[in-house]
Assembly symmetry: C2
Homo-oligomer: 279 residues x 2
Amino acid sequence: MKIIKDIKEMQNLSKNLKKDKSIGFVATMGFLHEGHLSLAHQAKEQNDVVVMSIFVNPLQFAEGEDFNTYPRDRKRDEKLAEEAGVDILFFPSPEEMYPENFQTHINVEKLTQVLEGASRPLFFKGVTTVVCKLFNAVKPIRAYFGEKDAQQLIVIKKMVEDLNMDVEIVPMPIIREYDELAMSSRNKYLNPEERKSAVSLYKALKKAKQMIDDKIFDTKIIIQNMEKIISSYPFTHIDYISINHISNLKSLKYIEIGKTLISLAVFVGKTRLIDNIWI
Amino acid sequence: MKIIKDIKEMQNLSKNLKKDKSIGFVATMGFLHEGHLSLAHQAKEQNDVVVMSIFVNPLQFAEGEDFNTYPRDRKRDEKLAEEAGVDILFFPSPEEMYPENFQTHINVEKLTQVLEGASRPLFFKGVTTVVCKLFNAVKPIRAYFGEKDAQQLIVIKKMVEDLNMDVEIVPMPIIREYDELAMSSRNKYLNPEERKSAVSLYKALKKAKQMIDDKIFDTKIIIQNMEKIISSYPFTHIDYISINHISNLKSLKYIEIGKTLISLAVFVGKTRLIDNIWI
């Protein structure tokens, strides 16, 4: 596995590779888990070359969020990436990505006003900007994103469509722990007691799924039931529970089968966790 | 000369061409003049294939500006482009470029606050967004922009640098009429009396150049002299006269040789004209 830190070097390598090979790309912030690795495996299956980036993107963290404490373990990441079949690990520094006087941002304007965007107003501007930079450096034909960050996936697809970026965005299902907690690098923050409460997110989502199977489509009632489940666990504090149309992210009064995203963000202790299901 | 209207078709053609040919690109809003054609000639000289786009970009016109009346003459443009050696004319429709629910914009944040950006607050957001889309459709190795739109050139270079777009931006000198009025599609708006007053812009710029040659470096004094010249012509109304550092566009108190942009925007009748020199 080749490790590259320089954007120009990555770009030149990709330019050469692209002549006769397909490049699959997995963008990560490192501290890899099974979720990331499933993206790499899928990329390996569909492309000649797999590039993974590891970059904890300062632009998508607001003041007071966990940029400085975000878990990092470079040696472990390198090993896991290599084992997952990654051919090139792209590992730029913040100074390389955002030199002094950096000032250009990409904004997907409507889809970013709700859900994660409402709770974290600068988040998506940081995400779309860095993803555009990474795409321009890596030049992938396909890029793999997990459905765990559902809104991120929808926003990136919209950016790609609106700006005519020539990349196929491949969504990949959420990977879960033994007790169905969605995999996340941030799970590491949870102490053993909080870890037990973290299962409440998916428990609430499964309750929603069961209610819909039972033909209850009123989203207000579904959300009330979800809230009840979350609140029954200690250390939990709901940021939002929301039921939205998957393409425009408008709030839904009634479930639309095949077109509904149920998502939630919950603080467990100080750790903010997210999860979702697509109905 | 091939004419293409569809973004996907342009993209696929460019993808194939790119395998063994260099693509030079000239983005225009049509109503071609010698300025545009000089870009095409230069592109022809440096690349295997020349693509020119003609697209009057609604995103860069504010309410009340001249989007609807902007001069268009497609048949004449096609003939001139072909004569200038353009191989592919890319001619997308506004609906093709901005379908319903389009919502993604690129913003170069600091450089766009002054000069044209101060007078036209949405202008550069529209320019950078459309240029990114055009680059993604055309996939050029080099793109040619005139120094007439000096700030546009500087802003586009910044976007390309910040977002790691793999395109070389080639600046080209201003082409002038017999009486040294800078070529512009908007010159067509001027009636014969206004046309005479339009020469005041370059007259003022030449005065500035002469003062600098005479070792007068105080920008306040230079601007006062320029104002006097413009105001001596009928139908003129100064929007701004400004002396700025070429890389960060900060206002300069004293001329810095090799690093100074002197630019101005003047209404002549109802027509807004711009011009500049690099010192």
